[in-house]
Structures are given as structure tokens and as C-alpha cells.
Amino acid sequence: MTNNSLSAIFAETADPRLATPGMNRATIFFLIVTIVGLSCGVLAFIFGHHTIYNNTREMPWGMLISTYAFWAITSTGLCMYAAMSHVFGGTRMGMVSNRMVWMSIICIMGAFATIGVEIASPHRMLLYNIISPNPLSNIWWMGTLYGLAVGCMIIEFAGIVTGLGKLALVMGVFGALAEVLANSCLGGVFATLPARPYWYGAQLPIYFLTSAFLCGAAAAVLFNYLAYKIRDEKMSTSVHLAVKSAGKAMTLVLILYTVATFWRLVSFYVGGPELGRTAADALISGPLAINFWVLEVCIGLIIPIILIILSRLENMSMLAFAGFLILVGQFVARYDLVVAGQNVPQNLGWDNLPTHFSYVPSFFEFGVIAGSIGVVAFGFLMGERVFGKTFTQKEHH
């Protein structure tokens, strides 16, 4: 493709209204956050992952893994809603599905950025994932499928932008399939470890998928709201309806997710291994109790429900705020899940060990998290700027 045709395409898709000094400042700000934040992770390769992250032998996974899972899950959700409205048409969310495809790509980039600096030797992965694959490994499938998904979605998005609707449709379907399978394998990474009763079990992969539908809808509401906010513009009726149906999906899945969380926790108290119960205790009354009750339950579930009811799905700022709180709650929920699965000593009762290990993420871990938020915010703003028109035009098929 020549430069000329490229710039012709961008002229078609870009939204010049966003070329304002304020937008420039915001974009540069998030670019800096990205660079500074991810530099924290790059330091791991210089000083050692074991020195700058607070992971231990007993708790090998921490906030970077949970944040990776959070972005990956959100990406899956966005991608699934977009694919459904592309394939089946007729859903009102189709109106904003192009934006959802873009944000799905961006969220998975946030996930990759996080895991890229978490894994000790990603360069080995590039080679040995290919020449020494283990088909029984969930991690292998998860990495491969997310890689595939992002490839498909990039082609899909290129198809959307260049007007190749058929290609976009087909790639969108493959991308969504890969995302769902990858999400399932991500759940499986935890669900297939009998050593960790808090994770082990058939429920977890479905739980992850439920969370994907929840986060996807919440992100769809939030990003669409923000897209009009930064333009200081009112949503058109069709976009309004699209966001409203995303809000409906969000409400429905919020209820499903609450039910799933409730039974998941109850199940630990009616029997099963002691380790699982002690892990659940961490959330109910132990070191993760504030996270759980305040952030997961109040901020992430109860207040959003109240806001949704008050908004009657009409008041967009209220709905968007509910979406934001849901995402905060889900972020913390992933953290609590990852931590609780490991913080009960496997040899509790020996060596005078505490009932729960303490884990506080390091400064550098927080840095990487900020970096990943930077990636998503920067990607969002750039998307609106460069592809803004594509996001509001009618569906591409």
C-alpha cells in the first residue's frame, strides 16, 4: 500500500475535531504514563524479576498476573459483543461494534504489556512455544490463542477501515472464537490445579467467561460515553440505543456474576478441602476482606446496581460511572482471586507459618499496572483520533 492511499484512508477515518490542544495533552500524558510505567517492568530484566517484584516461592503470582487476566478478560468481552452484533446483525450494539473491536485489540495490548514484563524470559517463549509446544498446557494454548485472536482482530479492523466488509466479518468471527477459547484456557490455567483448592474446579472457566461478558459490557458503556464526552457532543439516538443495550447486557451479567460469586464462596464453607476454606476466609474475614467487601462487593456490585436503577438506562453519565465502578470491582476481584489461591501455606501447621502469607505489590508492580492503564487510555484516545469516523459510521456489512 502506498503512502498516498494510506493517507487517503486515514483522511476517511480520522476525526479532525479531536485535533485539539486538550486532546494532545491528554494523549501525551497517557503516552508518558505508558512509557514510565512499563519502564518499571523493563527494569526487571536488568535487576531481576525476583528483586523488583514482590513474588515469592510460595506466592509466585501477584498483581501483574491478575491485571493481565483483567485486561485479557475485558478484551474477550468486547470482542464477543462486537462479533455477535456483526454476525447476527439486528442488535443495537452493532452501531458501536467497530469501536469495540478496536478497544478489544487495545485491551489485549494492555494485557500483553503486563505479562510481557512479568514472565522472566519472554524471548525463550518466542522460540520454544513453537519448537517445543506442550499441548496439555493451558498456558501454551492461552498464549497461542490470544496471539491468534489479536492477529485476526487486527486484520478484521484493517478490513473495517478499508471497507473490506467480508474479510472483516470472517476475521471477526475467527477472532472472537479464538478469544473465547483463550479466555477459557485462561480460566483453565487456574481451574486445573488440584494443588490450589481455591482455584480448582469446573466453575472457574465459566466464571471467567461471565466476567468477560460483564467487563466487556461495562467497557463498552464506558468507552462509548467517553468518546462523546471528549468530543463534547451528544450521542445520536442510535448510539444512545446501542449504549443502552450494552447497559442492559451489563445489568443482566452483573446479576449472573453476583450469583456465581455467591455460590462459589458458599461452596467452600459446606465442605471440601481445608485449604480452600482458609483461602475463602481471606476474602470473607482475612487479609483480603476490605478488598472483597468494600471494593468487590460495594463498589463493584452494589453501587453499580443502584446507579443502573437510578439511571433507568437513560442517564448516560450515571450508567458510564456504573460501568467504571464495575471495572474497578473486577480488577480487584481478579487480584483477590490470584492472591487467595496462593496465600494459604500448603504446609500450614508446620514451621510456625501464618494462616495467610502477606503479599503487598511492590512499587514496580504498581508502576507496570499504571503503564498498562496508560496503554489502554492512549490506545483509546488514538483510536478516536485516527479512526473516529469509522467508529460512528454504520455497520460494515
Binding site: 509466585p60 514472565i119 498446557s137 500448603q346
Partner: protein, 255 residues
């Protein structure tokens, strides 16, 4: 709970254990004779003994079901351990185990309880169980950790390790650590490279133990002490965390 107390525990009966679970141990040449503490401790005995019981649902597997030419295991005569940690030191020296970031291949766990006003100390040696169904091997994306086809020992191919740490999360026994020099995950390998390869018959820890707690050997070789101990009728043998289904090859007895 200490060992004597454990021995006083009520046998909950193997009926509470699924048939499948019992079959798994049969495949290792052992049969389950007791379940204690809600299944977290099993007592095991030799199959030959089990065959005398003429228990209808116990099908005795033919020899050679274990897929590797050698079947290395270790018995810990737990009540003999005095906690001197000479084994830990010998292991560090022999296998160049780094000194920090929680690196160890074998450790001595300690439990202090007070009974009738007097303090009671108990030691439990732990190391990688070289599981027959190792969760760490199953989860590794790049086959960086695998069962050695000759010995069944779970070993590392450091250059393939991407450092995802899934194996650490998957191991029920906390047997794996990050080796900063190799920049890869590391673990006990029964001294396969440092001693067995040189023809030595014992691991460094077993050789260093003054109380002869650790009996190492080939479970397939009927002349070994470990074989004899595992096949002593009526001895109470247990493994750690049998509920995870990893099928460990490190056994515990009081002898």
C-alpha cells in the same frame, strides 16, 4: 499433629476413597489400607499384602505398569529425623543451590506442640516427590520440565523455561524455586546429574543423613531397601497431599 497422634487417629476406612483413587496407587505397586484425617493422609501397603486380602475390587496390576525403566523413590523414616539439616547443606553444596530468594531443593519442616505442659518437636523432611502424575510437567508450556524417559525423575531443561511460574503454582509440595543464575525455575532432581550420573547409588541428602532417615532407591529393584520397606506387611506408609492426585514417589513411615 505429630506422628504418634497420627497413629492413634481413627482409620476412616478406604470406602470413603473413590475406587479410582485406590486404582491409582495400585498402579504404583501400592495399595491403600487406610484413610486418615479426611483423606489428607493415606496409609499404604504393598500389593502382595493386598492380594492376601482377596478384596474383590482390588485388581492387582501386572508388573511393569510403571512406564520408565527405573522407578526412583525415597522413604522418609520420619520419626528418626533430628532436624540437623545436614541433608539440606549437602544438597546445597552438591547441587549449587543459591542461598536466597527462597531457594532450596530439600527442607526440614518443624512443628512444635505442647502436650501436658512439655514441648514436643517434630521434623518432616520434604523435597520434590518426582510425582508419577506431575502437575508441574502437565502445565509447562514449553516442556521445559519433563519426566526423564530413563528414570522418571522430573528434570529441567533450563534453556526452555520462559519463567511463567505456572509449575510453581501447580506443585502441591512447594518444591520449585526461581534460580536467579539460570534465570529459570529449578527443583530437586534426585541428584540425577550430580551423583546418579557418576554411578553413585544415593542422593546427596540421603548420603549425608546421620540418622538414616532417607532411604533412596529403585522401587522396581527387589533387592533395594526401599523396596523391602515399602513391601513390609502391615507397615503404615503415607504420602503428603494424596488428594491432589499427583501420585508422589516420596513415602513416609515411622521406623
Amino acid at each position: 499433629m505429630n506422628i504418634e497422634e497420627l497413629e492413634k487417629e481413627k482409620n476412616e476406612g478406604i470406602d470413603s476413597l473413590p475406587l479410582q483413587e485406590r486404582r491409582k496407587f495400585l498402579k504404583m505397586g501400592l495399595s491403600v489400607t487406610g484413610v486418615f484425617l479426611g483423606g489428607s493422609v493415606l496409609s499404604l501397603t504393598s500389593i502382595s499384602h493386598a492380594s492376601n486380602q482377596k478384596n474383590a475390587d482390588m485388581d492387582i496390576p501386572a508388573e511393569g505398569q510403571y512406564p520408565y525403566p527405573k522407578h526412583y523413590g525415597m522413604i522418609m523414616r520420619q520419626n528418626r529425623c533430628v532436624g540437623c539439616e545436614l541433608c539440606v547443606e549437602a544438597c546445597k553444596q552438591t547441587n549449587h543451590v543459591p542461598n536466597d530468594h527462597g531457594a532450596w531443593r530439600t527442607a526440614i519442616q518443624e512443628k512444635i506442640t505442647t502436650e501436658n505442659g512439655s514441648e514436643k518437636r517434630e521434623f518432616r523432611p520434604v523435597l520434590c516427590n518426582q510425582c508419577n502424575r506431575p502437575p508441574c510437567v502437565r502445565v509447562c508450556p514449553t516442556k521445559a520440565t519433563y519426566k526423564d524417559p530413563e528414570t522418571g525423575i522430573v528434570v529441567m531443561d533450563y534453556k526452555k523455561c520462559i519463567g511463567c511460574k505456572t509449575c510453581m503454582a501447580a506443585c502441591p509440595y512447594n518444591a520449585r524455586y526461581f534460580n536467579e543464575e539460570k534465570y529459570a525455575i529449578d527443583k530437586c532432581n534426585f541428584c540425577i546429574d550430580t551423583r546418579l550420573a557418576e554411578g553413585k547409588k544415593e542422593t546427596a541428602c540421603a548420603a549425608a543423613c546421620p540418622a538414616r532417615v532417607r532411604i533412596f532407591g529403585d522401587l522396581k529393584d527387589k533387592s533395594t531397601e526401599i523396596y523391602r520397606l515399602l513391601h513390609t506387611p502391615d507397615s503404615k506408609i503415607w504420602v503428603l497431599r494424596p488428594d491432589t492426585g499427583a501420585l508422589p514417589n516420596v513415602f513416609y513411615i515411622n521406623a
